[in-house]
């Protein structure tokens, strides 16, 4: 694999809470343009991995190399800046802001207006504000909730909130979009729509890292899948192979299949 094909490399990332090892030297490589799945039973360390990657947690050892640059630990805004955007398992929107304002916050990183621009409302600032609003509208349209643009985020339906979170993440112009259980709590129709959306995002050039419980969704969407169990990567391959791996079956069924 040549270097420019690799987008993200995790090198033996370890994280523990007190005495509990949440991640045990996890290494993996994500290629540009793929949809990479990260699955595993509850408490396997998937979200912990996400939090280390996006700088919310500081990992004890190991490091990430993203797009050829070593990631600084413990700096979430820097992760976003170099192109890693994420959503949260338990949806974290700005509830008392409208949908479009949520996405506009996502544009913060790629815009510049400061205090003096805001106070003077000069031509450059006005143009930038217009561009922010325009881009936010496009993104709402892109995820399919443009008609809810002026509703408060917390008044949106569950499925729409997930979409809004994705739109907000996309507003930061990520190279890698990390989705934490985006299909949790969705019905069949919503999950299918989500599948199409994620495929579309990937087609438009954004690499996707997907944590998911819905094994069917992962197997249908992802090019490659890694399985975490008790904080260790036990398997990494194309879905068809992963599905048949005895260690994976054992992890999921708790060793009851002898």
């Amino acid at each position: 694999m040549s270097a420019h094909q690799v987008l993200l490399e995790a090198h033996e990332v370890a994280k523990h809470f007190g005495g509990v090892k949440a991640l045990h030297d996890v290494s993996l490589t994500i290629r540009r343009g793929e949809i990479y799945g990260l699955i595993g039973p509850n408490g396997a360390g998937k979200t912990t991995f996400f939090n280390c990657l996006t700088g919310l947690y500081r990992n004890e050892s190991g490091h990430f190399v993203f797009d050829g640059v070593k990631l600084a630990a413990d700096a979430p805004h820097k992760a976003a800046e170099i192109g890693i955007a994420r959503t949260f398992q338990n949806i974290r929107l700005f509830g008392n802001m409208t949908a479009i304002e949520n996405v506009m916050v996502g544009r913060h990183l790629r815009t510049r207006a400061g205090v003096f621009g805001a106070i003077s409302r000069n031509a450059a600032t006005r143009a930038e504000e217009a561009a922010i609003a325009r881009r936010a509208e496009e993104l709402l349209h892109y995820v399919g909730i443009q008609e809810r643009a002026h509703d408060y985020a917390r008044h949106l339906s569950y499925g729409d909130q997930r979409r809004l979170e994705i739109a907000r993440a996309l507003a930061t112009e990520p190279k890698l979009l990390a989705l934490d259980e985006p299909a949790a709590g969705m019905n069949g129709t919503e999950t299918e729509a989500l599948r199409l959306l994620v495929e579309g995002i990937c087609r438009d050039g954004v690499t996707v890292l997907l944590i998911e419980h819905d094994v069917k969704l992962v197997m249908g969407l992802c090019g490659r899948v890694a399985v975490l169990d008790y904080g260790e990567k036990i398997c990494e391959d194309v879905p068809a192979v992963v599905q048949k791996d005895p260690r994976v079956i054992e992890a999921y069924l708790g060793g009851s299949v002898a």
């Binding site: 979200t47 996400f50 939090n51 919310l56 947690y57």
Partner: protein, 307 residues
């Protein structure tokens, strides 16, 4: 050398008082996350009530220790009622209000109590009737009084008792559970209202005790005395890690000692540029420095953002 020991002894006395008051702040903060600004005023009212009772009984011919004891008990009882009433009337209706709302209420109550005290007891300093025969002991060049010994011993006893209460009794466990997670405690059948009321009542009782201690140590009382004392005690609570009871005790003692040492040595340290008027800034400077390096206080748990 004698200054060092002397300042340590004085600091320990003051620190014991800070620790008791700090406990009142930290218990309330640990459970409902409120900086109870009126707590310093509760302490002041405790001192005032004790003084009034003691002055009233001074001529009765009872032995001084009995009069002191009655004064203390009445003050503690009065403050327990006051603490309970504060919570019930002022704070409980605001349990779900925006974060700053109860804080403003607390500030309002502090102003109200201070001025009520002024109307009742007047604007002048009240002096403590000479009840206790002061014994002065000498130790390695430093001197201390029986009052100081009593303050430190009593504070230590009360803190031991409180630790037992919180660690071993049902109400103590309910308090800890509520501090940990209110929702879960509620589901486990803990009567949240009772627990919160208890925190105020116990905190106020400790405050009243502390008030009596400062009163008998300095032998004066004033309607504004609660303010700075409360501020220092709150600083001590934050220093130790707010919400953490052991932290409040340690923070209080530490602050008392630092202040006393600071006041004793600031002249030497700055070549007499700054004098002992600056005693009050030590508390805050130490606080700022500690928080820079230990954002959750000396004994607080490191709490990170949860994703």
């Amino acid at each position: 050398m004698d200054t060092l020991l002397q300042q340590l002894i004085n600091g320990l006395t003051l620190g014991a008082v800070y620790a008791l008051v700090a406990l009142g702040y930290t218990m309330v903060y640990g459970i409902i996350g409120l900086i109870n600004f009126a707590h310093g005023e509760v302490v002041m009212i405790g001192t005032m009530v004790a003084f009034t009772v003691i002055v009233f009984l001074a001529g009765s011919g009872m032995p001084p220790l009995v009069i002191l004891g009655i004064g203390l008990l009445v003050a503690v009882a009065a403050c327990m009622v006051l603490g309970w009433a504060l919570e019930r009337i002022a704070y409980r209706p605001l349990r779900h209000a925006p974060r700053l709302t109860p804080l403003i209420t607390a500030i309002g109550m502090s102003i109200v109590l201070q001025n009520v005290a002024m109307i009742i007891w007047g604007r002048n300093y009240i002096t403590f009737p000479p009840m206790i025969h002061k014994e002065i002991y000498e130790l390695g060049g430093a001197s201390f009084t029986n009052v100081q010994v009593a303050i430190v011993c009593l504070a230590a006893l009360v803190m031991l008792g409180l630790t037992y209460l919180v660690q071993r009794t049902r109400i103590g466990m309910a308090m800890r559970a509520t501090a940990e997670n209110q929702q879960v405690a509620l589901l486990m059948g803990v009567d949240i209202n009772r627990v919160i009321a208890m925190a105020f009542v116990i905190g106020s009782a400790l405050g009243a005790l502390a008030g009596c201690m400062v009163g008998s140590y300095y032998e004066i009382a004033h309607y504004q005395m609660g303010f700075m004392l409360g501020l220092k005690a709150f600083t001590a609570a934050v220093l130790g890690g707010i919400g953490n009871m052991a932290g409040a005790m340690a923070g209080g003692l530490l602050l008392g000692v630092i202040e006393a040492l600071g006041a004793g040595y600031i002249g030497d340290l700055t070549g007499d540029f700054l004098g002992s008027h600056y005693q009050d800034i030590f508390a805050f400077i130490v606080l700022i420095i500690v928080l820079m390096f230990r954002p959750s206080g000396l004994f607080g748990e490191r709490t990170g953002d949860r994703a």
